[in-house]
Amino acid sequence: MKIFSKIMLVLMFLFLIAISVTEDLVVTNSLKQAKTDCLYIEALSEGKEDVREMDISLAVDDLEEHWKNNESGMCYLVNHKNIQEIGTEISKLKVYQMENELSEFYASLEAIKAYSESYLHFMGASLHNVF
């Protein structure tokens, strides 16, 4: 085997390791952050009749900003369709929060949490995902 092929094989192997580690870190962190932000919003809005308050509004903005920052990095690694739903739900959540649509607001919050959890589950390396 030529030296060029050997070097390329080693580089490819290192690339595969690097990309696997990066994917795990980026995707897990991004989804966990989205879930944590949702839990924080949920805690803030618990028992409240009006979700248009400043602290909830800021928390929703934070969720949106964090997601936008993380989404660009995830696009290199994850099928865009898989993460599109979370972005859409965050946009809806913001509107429901501004309009004080309580049931839709909580439904959106739950949807974001569910999507994050489900993607976290099926993106990891497990026997279920392999087969």
Partner: protein, 236 residues
Amino acid sequence: MITIIIRAVIIYLVVLLLFRIMGKRQLGQMQPFELVLTLIIADLATIPMAEVAVPVLHGIVPLFTLVILHFVLTFFTRLSTTFSSILSGKPVIVVNPKGIDYQAMKKLNITVDDILESMRGLGYFSLEQVEYAIMETNGKLSVMPKAEESAVVNKTIDAKVEPNVIPINLVSEGKLMKKNLPVAKVDENFVLDFVKQKTGKSKLKDVLVMTIDKNGQVFLQLKQGEKQIFENVRSR
């Protein structure tokens, strides 16, 4: 559309690189595991090319994985003949001095027509001409003809022959092959002078091909002209 174009270029270059790394085996020479790999690569490459939502890495990562796997399998086939025979199978004798081996034919899932077709491709039109025919692991048939059907070679008749020499290409479609000049022990001036002297053309762009061998035989053909052969041309 720009995205698809850029993706197509990236995937093309990656697949090209991978095939260069994997070697120069042609489709007909592939072992079963190499054929499988080629088919999967072809399929994998098209997914991120056509589907914009799929990251290019989703195409590249499995391609790299398969190429590494290919080299690992190749390494083990070199290391162990048992592993090699498990992966690629064994050559099977399908024609022997007694005739066609029907059991071997059934095992390989081939027909008599397949054997005859492959034999014809090798220049043997009758089973009587063949002593042995072996189906190789890459699916090609190798034929050993009967002694009386074997081609006569110079060694058989004790003919004295000069060793063959490979001609060196000096000009190809008007372009001077500069890397070949030191091998042929000539320089650019020699080529230009020779062409001008023999054809009257002062520029190489009119030359289709010019070669020289170590015996000093020059083959020269202009784009608009017939071949000319010059013996004992002295190189510098």
